[in-house]
Symmetry: C2
Subunit: 230 residues, 2 copies
């Protein structure tokens, strides 16, 4: 994307990251994002405290990315937070943004009163909400990936675009920004059109742009109806 | 306590357990409890999966005990759950009880809407609620220890009794059960009265028994007043 775009750190917590098709998919996606830095937590990176703090300092948006394991972020994420954050300095990260990319094996419908889980994702993820409060971070709406392994090719293309936009665009985003982003993206990658992966994305953006235009027309129509009614 | 009493497993998750005065205090307390098994999580015990599963199977009440670190249970607890629980067997622990002993550095008043944390402990601990749902465990009300290091000697004596009762008594408990428990406890330890630690507890129980009797009288009086009014 734009060289001067938002700098984003993606902190990936997964106990068996190499075996995770979701994480490998997201990793390939993030590689298309020039301003995104990918940090995988493992026994080695966990203890590079100085380096990890520098990464937090030098990025504007921090994404915590993980599967929900037994209804929580994995243990290694909390261990990393414990080692990296500083109890005695509450302002060093103040003003930055905090995002969450969480993948779940069930539909999100299960995460509600009366659903099979019975608790909302907002409740289960509330420790991260408190963390954001405490450090003066602006929490952006979480990004949820449902049942990735069962997703169709079309759903995954959509996911790829949504994910890249989650890493870079203002959140919550809107149609206008998504469309502008797509146009810029198209311009930048036109030179690389021989790459089949890029071609796939290109097609997705074109489809999306059309979808967005249709939606905008519909909304404008609805607004007109509303204006006549009130 | 009674040899035939409730068998309780206390799973202690603390990254620096030896330096925790709270955990050392609770450990000494639990040692007075014949039917309580103390399991400290560390790099060694974490990986003893067969042994840990056997401990879960052979105890009726399971207590997860930890300090809240960055608004969550410590990472090592979630890592232990991941290694020990079985995704493909949802009934092996069904019918057991699950308790939480959580210590916090602030007053619990901070854990509410508008408080400095802004989220309730019930919300922050909701992953454990989902876990209980999923495994068919009966969740008993959590036991919270506030600002242990600032507690007076009197507060700690009270804590010790409350904690021992949390490990063994029906939860939620009532005056009657607490009183019966205290009387049995007194009988059993009379033989060990030369131990100064035991003596301290003895005194606490006697005080508590008197307090309970007074409260019961007050409640009976209130009931009579109520009966007259309706």
């Amino acid at each position: 994307m734009e060289v001067a775009g938002l700098k984003t750190l993606v902190v990936v917590a997964h106990p068996e990251i190499k075996d995770s098709s979701t994480q490998q998919f997201l990793k390939e996606a993030a590689e298309l994002q020039q301003n995104a830095t990918w940090l995988e937590l493992n026994n080695e990176t966990l203890n590079e405290v100085t380096k990890n703090r520098e990464l937090l300092r030098s990025n504007q948006r921090i994404i915590l990315q993980f599967p929900l394991l037994w209804y929580s972020a994995p243990g290694i994420l909390f261990e990393w937070l414990r080692l990296t954050l500083q109890q005695d300095d509450k302002v060093w990260l103040s003003g930055k943004e905090l995002g969450i990319v969480v993948n779940i094996g069930q539909s999100e419908e299960a995460y509600r009163l009366g659903g099979s889980v019975g608790y909302s994702l907002s409740s289960l993820l509330s420790p991260i909400g408190s963390l954001a409060n405490n450090l003066g971070l602006r929490l952006i709406p979480y990004f949820v990936i449902e049942k990735f392994v069962y997703q169709t090719e079309a759903a995954r293309k959509r996911l790829l675009v949504d994910y890249l936009q989650y890493l870079e665009l203002n959140q919550p985003t809107n149609f206008e920004e998504r469309q502008d982003w797509a146009i810029k993206f198209l311009k930048e990658i036109r030179a690389k059109e021989d790459n089949p992966k890029i071609k796939l994305i290109l097609n997705t953006f074109i489809e999306q742009k059309e979808r967005l235009s249709e939606l905008k027309d519909e909304i404008n129509l609805m607004r007109k109806v509303d204006d006549n009614e009130y």
